[in-house]
């Protein structure tokens, strides 16, 4: 790889490395296309995703004798699968992004406080983190959903309750290391307040691992949401979500494989795209972690 010999910031170098990684860029494009489709769902979806018509029940995709108006065929209630996929992307992406965003904000604040303030604050936060780590993720979410009931808001809450632990641990570790650095010492010596040191001095310097991890976690959260929806604990019908679409299609495996198969492919493509992109981010911005 050729690297410009001019003086470059680590961030600039990272961007350059990322741009040269064709796999990562293609993955980012795939993910962006899905996100754009989700955002523009009302404009591009060919049909109303919830409009049922039993005359179209289990109609096959267009290449198997279906019609162009319903290119990927119809489900058990005669609803257009393509339109439901496009609308379902909204749930996956929105839950994924929202959970990771809230969890990152909570995790960063808790991690900074634990790492920088130490003492009882650190003990309380690490204690809570250790307890939450004691639950397998999916079981924790399923347990909570069972008690709180299904629905969009509850799914986000159930996942955030555990997800914040991930950024929190990273930020705490990085903050502990940063606390001893000269730039933090200098800020303290100049009389900066604790919140200034944490948010203005330390945070910008430790943000890149948090962002890299956030992308991987988003892929993870999307699979968790789909799993919960598959079990019937996610957003409720008739709202389309990829997990519940796979579940609905199970009944028709024998004569209508397309009902379950397409939403599954959608999950796989989105999650893989995010994973490849996040691998590229990691390689570009943290070359130590390449191996």
């Amino acid at each position: 790889m050729r690297i410009n010999t001019g003086v470059q910031s680590p961030l600039g170098l990272g961007w350059m490395r990322l741009q040269q990684n064709r796999m990562a860029i293609s993955a980012a494009i795939v993910a962006l296309v899905i996100i754009a489709a989700a955002l523009a769902a009302p404009l591009i979806a060919p049909q109303d995703p919830n409009e049922a018509d039993l005359f179209r029940r289990l109609q096959p995709p267009v290449w198997l004798g279906g019609e162009w108006a319903f290119p990927l065929g119809c489900d058990g209630l005669g609803r257009d699968i393509l339109s439901r996929l496009i609308y379902g992307a909204r749930i996956s992406i929105f839950v994924g992004a929202l959970v990771v965003l809230i969890a990152s904000v909570v995790g960063i604040l808790a991690g900074l406080a634990a790492g920088y303030l130490g003492g009882w604050v650190d003990r309380v936060i690490t204690g809570l983190v250790d307890i939450l780590l004691g639950f397998p993720y999916l079981i924790f979410a399923i347990g909570l959903m069972a008690m709180m009931g299904a629905g969009f808001q509850n799914i986000v809450l159930a996942l955030v309750y555990k997800e914040w632990v991930v950024p929190c641990r990273i930020v705490r570790g990085e903050t502990l290391a940063a606390r001893e650095q000269d730039y933090v010492e200098a800020a303290r010596a100049l009389g900066a307040s604790r919140s200034h040191v944490m948010l203005r001095e330390i945070l910008p310097n430790i943000l890149s691992p948090v962002i890299v991890v956030a992308t991987v976690r988003m892929a993870h959260v999307i699979i968790l949401e789909a799993s919960l929806s598959f079990l019937g604990l996610g957003v409720q019908p008739p709202t389309a979500s990829w997990g519940s679409m796979v579940s609905e299609g199970r009944e028709f495996l024998l004569d209508a494989w397309w009902v379950s198969t397409f939403p599954g492919i959608a999950i796989l493509v989105l999650v893989m795209a995010i994973n490849v992109f996040s691998q590229g981010l990691r390689d570009a911005f943290d070359p130590r972690m390449q191996e």
Binding site: L128, G134, F135, G143, G243, I267
Partner: protein
């Protein structure tokens, strides 16, 4: 590692286990609405029945008393009655546990059997097409939604090809007397090869579904630790001595390269527990995971609570063992 250190570590688990119990306790306590009403649902019940259920669940006492009672009962393995089965929760769970343990163990073995050779080959033939294939395969494995992969396997191997049964653990005619509860062992103990073969065919697809994401992670771990070990002086020295490459890799390098793999496998076994719920639901596997999913929909809260606690305690203990195992295998790390 000194025994005292292990004990010390173990004692350190107590606050975590206590915290886990508090959360499981709160899960049901802070549920909006009256759990008795929710559990009874639409069933017609007299005020006396409601009061009896409330008393049974201890809901008529103050919250701190209820928590102490919950812990005391949990320690004795008492989680109340499973409303739906009209039997103690612990009994119902005990019945389903062997199926889940069997599935988890087979998945674990399968994951290791896929990951170790693949990871070693990828490391030895670094940057070859095999290495790239294993990278893509791992990426695929971690991105694959388990519930969908299971359905695809059913569609292909059960529905289309008819090689494997669609669901269940064993056919009626092939049932044998339970000794360990693990059918693969019980059928062999009974000397029934036909039943063993049937049990094996039943468990293959669910175990593969459960194993694949784990195999993906373990392949990556084995690959990178093998690459590191292959660079160490002792391996280079063994090669310089003129030992055959296969011997150096198989005997000298592998032993150390597998330390992270074994540790991560122990950790990942915990996440198999979550995957169980999905896989058991897809394959109609009569284990604990499916029981919990059923319990959620029949609002059988005491059972859900007991199962979540059981899963969490198992998970904490597995992590503890992974930690001990890592230290034991790796003399460079001292607790």
């Amino acid at each position: 590692m000194r025994f005292g250190k292990v004990v010390e570590r173990f004692i350190g688990l107590i606050p975590v286990l206590l915290g886990v119990s508090v959360i499981v306790f709160l899960m049901i306590t802070l549920t909006p609405g009256d759990p008795v009403q929710i559990m009874l649902g639409d069933a017609r019940s007299s005020p006396e029945q409601e009061a009896a259920l409330r008393r049974d669940m201890g809901l008529d006492r103050p919250i701190h008393e209820r928590f102490i009672l919950f812990i005391a009962n949990a320690l004795r393995g008492e989680f109340g009655l499973s409303f739906f089965h009209r039997r103690p929760v612990i009994e119902v769970i005990g019945e389903r546990l062997p199926a889940t343990i069997e599935l988890t163990l087979v998945a674990l073995i399968l994951a290791l059997a896929i990951a170790i050779p693949l990871g070693v080959i990828a490391a030895v033939k670094r940057n070859s097409w095999l290495d790239r294939l294993s990278t893509v395969g791992s990426l695929f494995g971690v991105s694959l939604p388990g519930f969908w992969f299971g359905i695809l396997l059913i569609l292909l191997f059960s529905v289309k090809l008819g090689w494997f049964p669609v669901s269940g653990r064993i056919g009626f005619s092939a049932e044998v007397r339970a000794v360990t509860g693990l059918l693969l062992i019980d059928t062999l103990l009974a000397g029934r090869l036909d039943s063993f073969w049937q049990a094996l065919r039943h468990i293959s697809l669910p175990a593969l579904t459960l194993a694949l994401p784990m195999a993906a992670v373990l392949t990556r771990v084995t690959r990178s630790s093998m690459i590191e070990v292959l660079r160490t002086d002792y391996v280079l020295f063994a090669e310089a001595k003129g030992l055959r490459k296969a011997r150096v890799i198989g005997l000298h390098a592998l032993k150390n390269a597998l330390i992270p793999t074994v540790t991560v496998a122990a950790l990942e076994t915990g996440s198999l527990l979550g995957g169980n719920m999905i896989v058991e639901t897809v394959f109609g596997w009569p284990g604990l995971g499916r029981l919990v999913v059923e319990a959620i929909f029949s609002r059988n809260y005491p059972l859900v609570q007991a199962a979540v606690l059981l899963y969490a305690v198992t998970y904490v203990l597995l992590n503890f063992f992974a930690d001990i195992l890592y230290t034991w295998l790796n003399p460079k790390v001292r607790l």
